[in-house]
Symmetry: C2
Subunit: 401 residues, 2 copies
């Protein structure tokens, strides 16, 4: 690997973030009339639906707060974060402080707070905003939302849970995975002891309970004791989820200075890629059934933006922290697949959904699930990991001289 | 069109039903140990999951009862219907008589009765069984389930409804559509007045409220007054659903001897086909957004078994009742697409899910949503419509001589 090669990767990830992706959302996503963000943007960036989904509102507050925090103190970025936060404060919660799933353009609730990830991303957004604009109201919302998440954790869907009590009490991988990231992101707001205990708990959940030694994979749903359920929900594997979780855990492991844990995350990531890679047509498959049976997800063979950018983040962090050449090789392969297919040279930003063949399945740049989050967060994370790799590489080169 | 051509179509539809599809289910779907039916069958017919989904249990009871009723008095078919019914009687309902969504192999409830279509297909199954085996318990279950459906009609999802009250009160097309079919299927059990009023009501719902004169399409979800909602749910069109509904309405129109209504259903079917046909790769698309925006359904471009067989039924009935040559032309086109792609020459029965290119997306013959229903029902309906067309054709030919 040459310094020049690294420099050109850095240019690409940094340049795409700052000159393509962020400008796209700055230009197209602000609802200047009613507040909050539009996320349903067609190929050109035109708004095709005005509903406001809480996941994506909270995530965009987080994204612009983080850019202001970590990239540059641009007033425009801070203003955009505050713009979303104000809408959320005014309209986002029910009387008990639960976050709705969606609102209409004006802020009237559409979908009840059945989905705990709305709360997770609201907490994420407000805690990041507090970091760059330390108003107590932001901290209060982040903290109380976080407490509410912990309270609801045992039955995240509450009364909307359709599982017959006690019949097949599977728990889902997403919540511990997100709590792993959230507890790190909210470190400045949480009691240290509480945070540490939680981190230990979720790392254990992910790496011991959801992880299955016999397959080397992490399951989406397991029994409370970690056993696999031989059912549609129990057999499903989401390779992109595993890869995203592995860099969350890696971040924790770096903070804990736990090299053994870092190595384990790399091993799991290698396994997830090997398992999830489409040997026929390239790219990472969305879902697979661990026993090789037909998965119930009809979209199982599609190639999704977040899966690929999260894989890239995971691989670069893995390489940064371990120097494992397999990470670099996989990075190059996933990079090549991703950059020749997802970015839209015509109108900027990335296509979200490709079919198995790697062609756009939907022309949208944003929708109900894709907003200003995975692509810019991932570009930022890759850029920073590449810089760290380049620095290490340079100091090694200097030593050799 | 020649008599020979018709005869060979009849042979194909009749032969496939009796020598391929039904034997496949007879051989592979019976759970002789715990009762009920397996529906998760892989390409070869081997069971890959043992959960029991109420939609498919009820539908299979209906299918075998109907075969016994209409095709031949084979004891085996009646036994299979009773086999499923007994399992349903023993395990299928909660204390209030609502039908669970799914049970495990042994019959223990897995998913709560949040889905009113479980009840619809149970009523369908028991009323058909009562026709061929007139035990009062079957009639009672069919009737009380039907009454319960009517009671729950205003809020079919009950407490599992996640829509914020009053925010965007859309109603869904599926229920009136199925009630249209169910009221005809249950004619022998229902009070005539009740049935007639209901039929008028649901035909009105489908053809006036859900139907949109400006586009000529029937929407999946509309406001109570029939207005279209400019939202993901409001913009979605399911062409296969329209085609299936049109033959349900056609059956009612024949019963009512309403030639004008028959003609209208044919016009709507023509429009749905023209709109839903994949001009690029052939076949009928699963979902489209009426404004041409990206639909939220990631499976929008897939080609589904039930869509194609229901289209064939609709087209043959349309031709049978109107002689409209457009129906015959479309029939030939959909027939050609369907028969070269869905049936599995290797192991029998039909693939359920093809990708946009027309290749199997999943290798299963049955799963959570595909059971012993659309394919055999459709083959039977096509066979009978073709026979009626052939008879008419023969008498015309005789007259000409």
């Amino acid at each position: 690997m040459k310094s020049k090669e690294l420099a050109s990767y850095i240019d690409l990830y940094r340049g795409s973030l700052l000159n393509d992706v962020i400008p796209f959302w700055v230009e197209h996503s602000l609802d200047k009339e009613f507040g909050g963000y539009f996320t349903c943007l067609d190929r050109k960036g035109d708004v095709f639906d005005t509903d406001k989904f809480m996941w994506l509102q909270g995530r965009q507050v987080w994204m612009f707060s983080s850019l202001y925090d970590k990239v540059e103190k641009r007033q425009e970025w801070l203003d955009i974060a505050v713009h979303g936060a104000e809408f959320l404060i005014e309209h986002g919660r029910d009387a008990e402080g639960n976050w709705y799933f969606s609102l209409d353009r004006q802020g009237k609730p559409l979908m009840q707070p059945y989905n705990i990830f709305s709360d997770c991303f609201a907490a994420l957004g407000f805690s990041a905003l507090y970091k760059v604009k330390p108003e107590e109201v932001y901290a209060d919302i982040a903290r109380s939302t976080f407490e509410n998440i912990l309270k609801r954790r045992g039955n995240p869907k509450g009364k909307y849970n359709k599982v017959f009590p006690g019949s097949r009490p599977l728990k889902n991988f997403s919540l511990p995975m997100i709590l792993c990231n959230l507890s790190l992101e909210m470190e400045h707001l949480l009691d240290k002891e509480v945070a540490n205990t939680l981190v230990q708990e979720v790392v254990h959940e992910v790496m011991e309970v959801f992880y299955q030694p016999d397959t080397g994979l992490i399951m989406e749903n397991v029994y409370p004791d970690g056993n696999v359920s031989d059912s549609f929900e129990g057999r499903v594997v989401n390779p992109g989820h595993i890869l995203e979780a592995m860099w969350f855990i890696m971040d924790q492991a770096v903070r804990l200075d736990d090299q053994a844990l870092i190595s384990r995350t790399v091993e799991v990531a290698m396994r997830a890629l090997d398992y999830g890679w489409d040997k026929q047509l390239g790219g990472i498959l969305y879902f697979k059934d661990v026993k090789g049976f037909p998965p119930q997800q009809l979209e199982w063979d599609q190639k999704l933006w977040w899966v690929h950018i999260e894989a890239l983040v995971c691989l670069l962090k893995g390489y940064q922290h371990t120097g494992d050449e397999r990470c670099w090789e996989w990075f190059q392969r996933v990079h090549e697949y991703t950059w020749t297919r997802f970015p839209d040279p015509g109108y900027g930003e990335w296509f979200g959904y490709l079919n198995r063949q790697g062609e756009p399945l939907l022309s949208l740049k944003g929708g109900k699930w894709k907003g200003c989050f995975h692509v810019p967060r991932g570009l930022y994370q890759c850029w920073k990991a590449l810089e760290a790799i380049a620095e290490k590489h340079e100091s090694l080169t200097l030593q050799e001289k």
